[in-house]
Symmetry: C2
């Protein structure tokens, strides 16, 4: 699943981003326009914010920054549209997923249209940016395809996977801004490392919310990963430490869990401290991201990046304080056990 | 449906094309590599041939020509992979369609991977080329989305549609070669017009073969369009001239035709000369393509383009001489009425 926190605090954005997103994607075909209009709004624009902030270390052309930021966001949106079709997800950002409104066919084509629009925007920028962005998309696709072929019960594979699926594009968003303001190779390596850890932190938090978040706050149902047989960090840790791991692995090998089985697993995982463990893993990634910033010029840009990394942990506040996630549950149906201590 | 003639005479290709296609798409992920290996071979490489020929009007960098040609082919292949998923097509180039081997999810991702690879190749070429190619992809997507929303009983809409769906990429393949060898704006307009008519001729012939071709020669089953309720030129003409058009429109409005209904429609259309009519329409498009060449420098490049246009009509030889198309029929099952006179 991709990242969908809807309550993160607002991030600084490049000037004219929304206008450019609207103009660049505009189509004379009414149905295309309608599909685009459904796909564009509602995101927190993390990737454009990162392009804008990292381009702020030195002077850069503001129009070019907005163009690259818009392109990166469109690539992200395109991959969301395709992922939702592929996961058969029901909702996205509290609204019906595009393919549920219009069917899979126009949704896949809308994704392709968004990809093409993004590359059109990148025609007018530095070649190096186009090159790293296309490489990141390939990496994302490889990560997603790999996820389909390997059932992995190992944390190392999980991090390698989310580095591809999620962190690759966040990494190049950061590098792109650096390239736009003329940063040196060694500085770009630091931005890349920051982006990778930030992206991993982000995905760990998102995966944790899927297990233990409250669906009405997240704008999408919870326990989607388990129902699809996708094993995320808290579950992987649970399968290492639980005395009943063998039985659970057997169930998971046979496919996704039912909602009841999922809730039962989360309850056991919570008891064994696995949710807390994942929260700490996210904090560690944030710390590594912040450490990567150390060699970069001090000032507003670096402070903003450190602040963004800290904000990634914010959605942990949304963790269900009242018990395990309810698949599609109404608020009044939730039970009331204690809060996992994720916010030290 | 996209173009899939498998028996067209061979076309001249840019040097090192296949090697570059292999190298550019290579992945360290075994499953990705396997999916790519299934998607690359078997095409006749019309679009790369057009890039190579049009780049031959004046001197051009051969490595850049091959790179752009490979990029255009990869975009074509990506759109084929996505289309096959969306049409739920069973076969492609006499082999199982990718998604039938591996499922829709990796197939959509493989398409995305191919798109990204193509744009990576375009990072090293003239910006104008990236710009027209991204515009063409948007146009293709708009054409395909439009097809889903409008049931059209009109020839004009059919041509407008195939100009978007098929001719747009062939058009930019021709323009790209022209840009690579430094042709003037007025010359590029001629190449664009040539490509548009060539693409239309191509699609008309492909649609005709779907109705009346022999599936074992085409490498895919026939009558796919009708079974999906897609109305192509011979059928649109039939609905204009047939005294029983009203009944057929009613059936088509209710969705795709069964195989038996499809065969019955083709038999009636054949009798009323509708297949011949479509064959003549393809010839007219070829003529217009060749006329567009008239202002271009005489010589080998122009002759080759004229020859390619003529070759587009070649697959009409594959038209079933023995009767209406049999959906998935074996040769021995075919009946034996007279040949439509499409090759004057």
């Amino acid at each position: 699943m991709h990242l969908t926190f809807s309550l993160a605090p607002e991030l600084p954005q490049p000037a004219g981003l929304e206008e450019l997103l609207d103009n660049a994607t505009a189509s004379a075909e009414p149905l295309v326009q309608q599909l685009i209009a459904h796909s564009l709004p509602g995101g927190k624009r993390l990737r454009p914010a990162l392009v804008a902030i990292t381009a702020g270390f030195y002077p850069a052309d503001p129009a070019e920054v907005t163009r690259v930021a818009a392109a990166v966001e469109l690539i992200h949106l395109a991959s969301l549209v395709h992922d939702d079709v592929l996961d058969n997800a029901a909702t996205r950002r509290s609204r019906p997923a595009l393919h549920r409104l219009c069917g899979a066919v126009p949704a896949v084509l809308t994704g392709d249209y968004l990809f093409a629009t993004a590359f059109g925007l990148l025609a007018d920028t530095k070649k190096g940016i186009l090159r790293i962005i296309t490489r990141a998309i390939r990496t994302m696709c490889e990560g997603e395809i790999q996820e389909l072929s390997v059932v992995n019960f190992c944390e190392e594979a999980y991090f390698a996977h989310i580095a591809k699926k999620t962190a690759a594009l966040i990494d190049v968003a950061c590098q792109s801004g650096g390239i736009l303001c003329g940063m040196k190779r060694t500085q770009l390596v630091r931005l890349s490392r920051y982006g990778t850890h930030l992206g991993c932190a982000f995905q760990v938090v998102d995966d944790l919310l899927d297990l233990a978040g409250r669906s009405e706050l997240l704008g999408k149902p919870c326990l989607q990963d388990l129902s699809q047989g996708i094993l995320t960090l808290p579950v992987l840790h649970f399968l290492e430490v639980s005395p009943r791991a063998g039985q659970w692995k057997e169930k998971l090998r046979r496919g996704g869990l039912t909602a009841d089985q999922g809730r039962e697993l989360v309850a056991q995982a919570r008891e064994l401290g696995c949710l807390e463990y994942a929260g700490q893993a996210a904090q560690k990634q944030v710390r590594l991201a912040q450490e990567a910033l150390e060699g970069l010029p001090a000032g507003k840009a670096r402070d903003s990046l450190a602040m963004v990394a800290q904000k990634v942990l914010f959605p942990l506040h949304l963790l269900d304080h009242t018990g395990p996630a309810q698949a599609g549950a109404q608020p009044e149906q939730a039970a009331s056990p204690p809060v996992p201590a994720l916010q030290q």
